[in-house]
Each structure stands twice: as structure tokens, then as C-alpha cells.
Symmetry: C2
Subunit: 132 residues, 2 copies
DNA sequence: GCGTTTTTGACAATCATTATCGTTACCACG
DNA sequence: CGTGGTAACGATAATGATTGTCAAAAACGC
């Protein structure tokens, strides 16, 4: 119950999920990742995959995207705050940073008296390879 | 089958949904709107509400938001392109425009060779009334 | 090792959304 | 003003990702 004494334990399952994310490129759904772990012979429950991903997301170690279509997608990204430029056709993703956008969002929110500000931003397009 | 001969028909149900959206402030879910229509005595099926909302969204007449929590929220907004500043606690929404953000997004996408660019942006915060 | 506490995982439950498909109502045309 | 073709409706079932449950297993401090 102590809020500072979280003390997450090191488990085989958590390592497996984390390791897998380290090797993967692009975004993948929880169900995807679960299937991959199974193929490798790692025995991890689907519930645990969800829990682990949520934990990592809360900790800021991975990014979550909610594309139209309803499935949550997860990816290990560079640590800092950034956004994604995603190809509609093939899903290829580029990380983009926009300091001006960040400060703009914060400023707009503060002007309206909103506190504790966060935001989400995704850019969609068709990548060069898919345009042809 | 002719692509230009769409010819949407005027139905009582479509008018009811559209009218309701015209009176409402803020975002509401499809199920919400359906319940309100029922309370008014309008007899509209849930399926139809979903279909109508999707149609209006495709036509660009209403905005869709997908907040964490899984429910799609719809709202009639001003016509032009804009974004939303939403209160996490009470849902109060402010429309905000950011020309600089639009052009930044387009520029970033083009730099990476992405075509046919669009984007989504939501700002979340706690509004003045809920901060206290 | 030992006990405590977290974590796991199979399964059921949830719930918004979508598909189905017979019925109804719109509307253009005669 | 009737009528035929077709789009729209709507009750219900299906879908499918995510979350809740809870007994059993594993991890960590000592």
C-alpha cells in the first residue's frame, strides 16, 4: 500500500517482453507480441503481456499509439518526448520532435487555465515507398 | 453503383441525430446520443445512430475523438480544421487553432517524403473549475 | 531454506462497435 | 397519384480487444 515502496520484481516474463520490444522495429499490438513470445517458446500469458506493457507505458519506457481500428500498439522508442509520422499503407514509422509544438500546446492550455497538461499527436501519410 | 450518384436520402432518423448534435455542447458518445433521442421519444435504433455518426464524420460535418477509455466521442464543431483542449475531469472542451502546428506537421512529413498528410492532435489538462 | 507478498495465467466477463438480414420508407418516374 | 427499385432502418447476434478474478507459483529479504 505504500506508494513509494513499489519495488517491482524481476521476473522471467517481464524480461522476455522487454527484450522482445528491444529487438522489434515498429509498432506491435499486445496480441502480436504475445504470439511472438509463444513462437519463441517463451511461456507468457496474454494477461501478463497486457499488464507488462501497461507498466512499461506508465513508466514511460514505451510509447502507445491508438490508431483508428481499435488496437493499441506499443513500441520501444527513444526516451524523450516525441511524436510519430506513420505510413498509412505499410506502417513505417519515423520519430519526429517538435519543440515548438510542445511549447505551443502548453501555452494554449495555460491561456485557458488548464493545468497538468499533456497531449497526443500523430501524423499520418503515405511513405515514399508506398506512393509509387 | 455509380460513384457520383450517392444520393443520400432524407430520413427522420438522420434529421433527428443531426438536430440533436446541433443543440449539444461538448462531446458525446454514440450510446449517449442514442439514449437522449429515446428520452425525447424519437425512435431511432442504436445501429442507425452509429451509421449516421460515421457518415457525418466522413463528410467532415462532425469531429471524432478517441480518448483513452475506448469510447468514441462525437461533436459538431466549427467547420474549419482545429484541435481540442479537453478537461480530463469534466470533459469541458475548448476549440483551438494552431496554424503553426499545421504547417509544421506538413513540413515534417514532406521532409521525409510522406504524401497525403493528415494528423490528429488532442491536448488534455484539468480545467480551472476542476483544479480547485 | 522460510515466510510474506507480488506476480502470474487460464478463464470468464465486459462492452463498444460491427455484421446480418428481413422489413420499412424514400423518391424518381410514369 | 401510384408504384417499383433501392437505400436506410433496426432488433439481434457476433466480434474481439481489453480487463477482472483468484488460486497457484515465483521472487526477494532475512
Amino acid at each position: 500500500m505504500s506508494e513509494s515502496g513499489a519495488a517491482l520484481r524481476n521476473t522471467r516474463q517481464r524480461s522476455a517482453v522487454s527484450a522482445l520490444l528491444g529487438e522489434m522495429e515498429g509498432f506491435h499490438s499486445a496480441q502480436d507480441l504475445h504470439a511472438m513470445l509463444r513462437q519463441r517458446g517463451e511461456r507468457v500469458g496474454l494477461t501478463t503481456v497486457y499488464r507488462t506493457l501497461q507498466g512499461l507505458a506508465d513508466a514511460g519506457e514505451i510509447d502507445v499509439m491508438r490508431p483508428p481500428g481499435g488496437e493499441h500498439l506499443y513500441r520501444r522508442c527513444s526516451q524523450g518526448h516525441h511524436h510519430h509520422l506513420v505510413c498509412r499503407a505499410c506502417g513505417r514509422t519515423v520519430e519526429v520532435a517538435g519543440p515548438a509544438v510542445e511549447s505551443w500546446a502548453d501555452r494554449v492550455a495555460e491561456q485557458h487555465g488548464y493545468a497538468d497538461v499533456s497531449h497526443t499527436l500523430e501524423i499520418f501519410g503515405t511513405c515514399p515507398a508506398c506512393v509509387r
